[in-house]
Symmetry: C2
């Protein structure tokens, strides 16, 4: 078995962050990738734990040197990226690196590290995803309709992935993910 980076992605509101947090808490053999960002820390956020907080110049240097597995400018404001070196170090140390990321980021990683293993986190059903999206709250009917159209597109992206894990239960989905990581 050769260790590979595992990339976990999926539609909005499917619970990627919750599944990744469960893995972090219960599987010390899994190393969770920490993103670099140019945005300032929020209260309670620790450098190196929640993000690597860097300046625009530092981030630009990393991009220039090809040190980002993927990166994006979000809403024309802060930049976010995944430093390649830390992932490779985790692989060298025999850890299982896991990167939780959005769909566009996942497709960039496919370009820069095609040997990675791509897992799509899916909702138990379309109705359940609709329920979770609607549970977000105070939007107008039009905004909800737009969000559902977006979710349809995001669900279609699962064809691009190596495996699909259904998030019917956080613990079960997380264990299936870790099991897949150990067996591919």
């Amino acid at each position: 078995m050769t260790r590979r980076l595992t990339v976990l992605a999926g539609p909005t509101a499917v619970g990627k962050g919750t599944v990744a947090a469960w893995v972090r808490e219960h599987h010390p053999e899994v190393w969770l990738s920490v993103s670099a960002t140019t945005r300032p820390p929020r209260p309670g956020e620790q450098d190196g734990v929640h993000y690597h907080f860097v300046s625009g110049d530092q981030f630009a240097d990393m991009v220039r040197r090809g040190e980002m597995l993927e990166w994006a400018v979000v809403h024309g404001r802060a930049s976010y990226g995944t430093p390649r070196a830390a992932v490779e170090q985790a692989l060298d140390q025999g850890l299982m690196p896991l990167l939780e990321i959005d769909l566009q980021g996942a497709r960039q990683v496919r370009a820069s590290m095609p040997e990675a293993y791509f897992v799509f986190l899916a909702p138990p059903s379309w109705d359940e995803l609709v329920h979770r999206l609607e549970g977000r709250g105070t939007e107008s009917a039009e905004e909800r309709a737009v969000r559902l159209e977006t979710a349809k597109v995001e669900m279609a992206a699962q064809e691009e992935f190596d495996a699909v894990v259904v998030n019917d239960d956080i613990r079960r989905a997380a264990e299936e993910l870790v099991s897949l990581m150990g067996s591919h």
Copy 2:
């Protein structure tokens, strides 16, 4: 000479759209890619000219069938993408296809069509880019500072490209672009 898709990208406010529009007007041998989108048309926009306006279901089907060279959900709302078939048809017809796109889209195209030719449109100088960004208007000092940090990161991306064209003059830059398209 083998015809290839040319991808034109660059930092915010560098003038990609203006250069592409000049090419469209003066070079009928260049075929400009038309994006598909799920957002509704705005007044004056024509289907098939400015965008292909499609439903969420249609867009999702294209994603599912792998028919998008790249796609993104923008601000969690509308989806935008580049249909592969039209680009390949243009290539078959001996036209020179040009895709004007943002930096993230360009990196996705590199994953799905690595044989494409990637051109970075650069400002004549850093000061000139700052001037153009500031010319956008009514932002606070903090918003301007964020925009400049973003521009630094975007400028660093030029290392990823096959060629750099400096947008010192729209006509000159457009002609250099077309000349590059014809010679690679």
